[in-house]
Symmetry: C2
Subunit: 350 residues, 2 copies
DNA sequence: CTGAAAGCGCTAACAA
DNA sequence: TTGTTAGCGCTTTCAG
């Protein structure tokens, strides 16, 4: 059993109150000699405050709940690492929950979070569009947490905090427009699940870019994946069947599946099929034909989320809710074929 | 403020003890009617037990500390996800600490862990060979934790638990032997930091395989990286300067740097240089020339670690310490050139 | 400057 | 079956 302030008090022949005061460094409350004596025996006894007791007495836990999706996606891992670093450096301990796609256990997690006395929550998981049960439960959870929440999406929360969001609509627009500018006319996309709001945002960007380019939107040209490489395995074969010459993948991870399939079919990127991704994970650069993509500043966003949360926790008088929106940037590498653009110019075909 | 058992007791006109008993589901201790009445008002009041209070009273936290290295490495993320899943499903909450390479803050983390009352620790971070300060502090920490620890390496701990370790020596041996069997004679390697035991183990495997193949070990043929892609960036150029025809990279992540450099120099794998990695992360398969590698069963190991820890926590009478050693398996793909082997046969050159 | 005492929310004997 | 009581380790008035 660890040493307690009682042990120290006994050794130093003072009361536990004095020990507590001295340890807390309340200057002027305890004499210098007593303080040093207490500090010394505390060190000797390897005293560590019992957090449960401290929390119980102070209602202060220095605990933050982090709700994330699958970290095997490098982009998510980047976000998480940035969060961890900031929280760590500010003395917060992080309680980590990975949510699966169903988020069916949001009820359990929410009560766990309540009970564990987290002082704030970082929510970095897709929000659903369809108003099914899990949707309502998440909304309810986010709104009733009673502690500051920083959210990865705009969810119109009632409590204090900041939404750190990325403009996925713009990302979808930019990626698609680039493809159009390169002369592509039949542009497929590999979407995430249809009921994720972040999917819908990208899809709108994609559609608006098409419209701007006077290309009709064809629902058959969108393949619905799940943001994982494995789930996007059939995408290429499907989209090729639709005669697409270029594909906007809603994240890099799924674009990698396109690469893999392309090799399997003996097709080359970008000669036979152009691909653009989204996220800009480091692996894009490892590919023989580096993946053109849309940069999402995961680490900056993670830092911003964590810092905002700490601010919200420590200045809890500030009850307003604000937003920080990050803009996308195109990263052009080698995976999009410009030949079509040349054709367009040379032949006046389109 | 959340509802407490006191609130429930007041509403139900019973004592807090009765509420506690009823909520704990101790059958036979509280009458059926009272129990349902209590359960109902608990639900109505949205009662959630205060964990701090429970821990304080029971010395039971359902908290597990997880010490990991950088999760941006997919292999580590895989390990982590498996751990998280098992812990989650057994009702444990996980407190996550990412250690940096210095692990300089092991002191702070260790006291944080002690104070937070974790019931067990999962340690998945490289152990250092050189007996410098951080080495001793980690050893001390691991040995004095006072709770079961499951470790990723054999560290000869005194407390209960199981080491879930991977035979990196064998991994190094197999990878190198494969390269030799393919006819390579000048085989470089991209090591991790020299003072990591896992590096040293692989290096021994590499040396023993060379010796078995009657190839002299040349220290100039080992490039020391840091297990990250970025850190291995100069490796290829260096090793090419040493006339190597094949490279064993101590993990896939660094092998990716080799790929990237190869593209930059206009070299192809495996025609100009053969590469074999270690870990077998999913990206290996995305590369145009899939990376041959040594499979490390991250997810199985993660599950095993978490399950062993739970067993150790729940049957803390079992004070023995055991080991589970995982064996490597070669995964042969396209990144190693066999031409040298043919030459060897045809020309009898070697 | 220091100590006594109460209380944070819960559990666990022991009585009744 | 239920209530009383004490206590987990710490903080924090309030007296002294």
């Amino acid at each position: 059993m660890n040493a307690t302030i009682k042990d120290i008090a006994l050794e130093c022949c003072v009361s536990t109150a004095t020990v507590s005061l001295a340890l807390a460094g309340k200057k002027g409350r305890v004499s210098a000699e007593t303080t040093t004596r207490i500090l010394e025996t505390a060190a000797r006894l390897q005293y560590t405050p019992n957090r449960a007791a401290v929390s119980l007495a102070t209602h202060h836990t220095k605990l933050v709940g982090v709700l994330m999706s699958d970290l095997r996606n490098t982009h998510i891992a980047q976000l998480f690492m940035a969060i961890e670093e900031v929280l760590q450096s500010h003395g917060y301990t992080l309680i980590c929950h990975v949510l699966d796609d169903k988020t069916a256990d949001i009820g359990r997690i929410s009560s766990e979070l309540n009970g564990s006395g987290v002082e704030g929550i970082l929510y970095a998981h897709p929000i659903f569009l369809d108003p099914d049960e899990s949707f309502y439960r998440i909304r309810e959870f986010l709104n009733n947490a009673g502690v500051p929440i920083i959210c990865n999406e705009d969810v119109g929360l009632t409590c204090a905090g900041m939404d750190v969001i990325f403009d996925f609509y713009q990302a979808g627009y930019l990626a698609t427009r680039h493809l159009i500018e390169c002369g592509h006319q039949v542009i497929g996309c590999v979407s995430g699940p249809a009921n994720y709001r972040v999917s819908e945002q990208r899809l709108r960007g994609y559609r608006d870019a098409l419209e701007e380019g006077s290309i009709a939107y064809d629902p058959k040209l969108v393949y619905y994946g799940d943001y994982s490489t494995a789930g996007a395995e059939p995408a290429l074969s499907y989209l090729l069947g639709q005669k697409t010459t270029a594909i906007f993948s809603f994240n890099d991870e799924m674009a990698f599946a396109l690469y893999r399939s392309a090799h399997q079919y003996g097709l080359s990127i970008p000669q036979d099929i152009s691909v653009i991704g989204c996220d800009n994970v480091p692996f894009c650069n490892v590919l023989e034909v580096p993946l053109s993509t849309v940069h999402v500043p995961a680490e900056e966003m993670g830092r911003e989320m964590a810092e905002s949360l700490i601010t919200a926790i420590e200045e809890s008088h500030n009850k307003s809710r604000t937003q920080h929106i990050y803009a996308p940037a195109l990263i052009l590498r080698g995976s999009v074929n410009r030949r079509y653009a040349d054709n367009a110019t040379k032949l006046g075909k389109y």
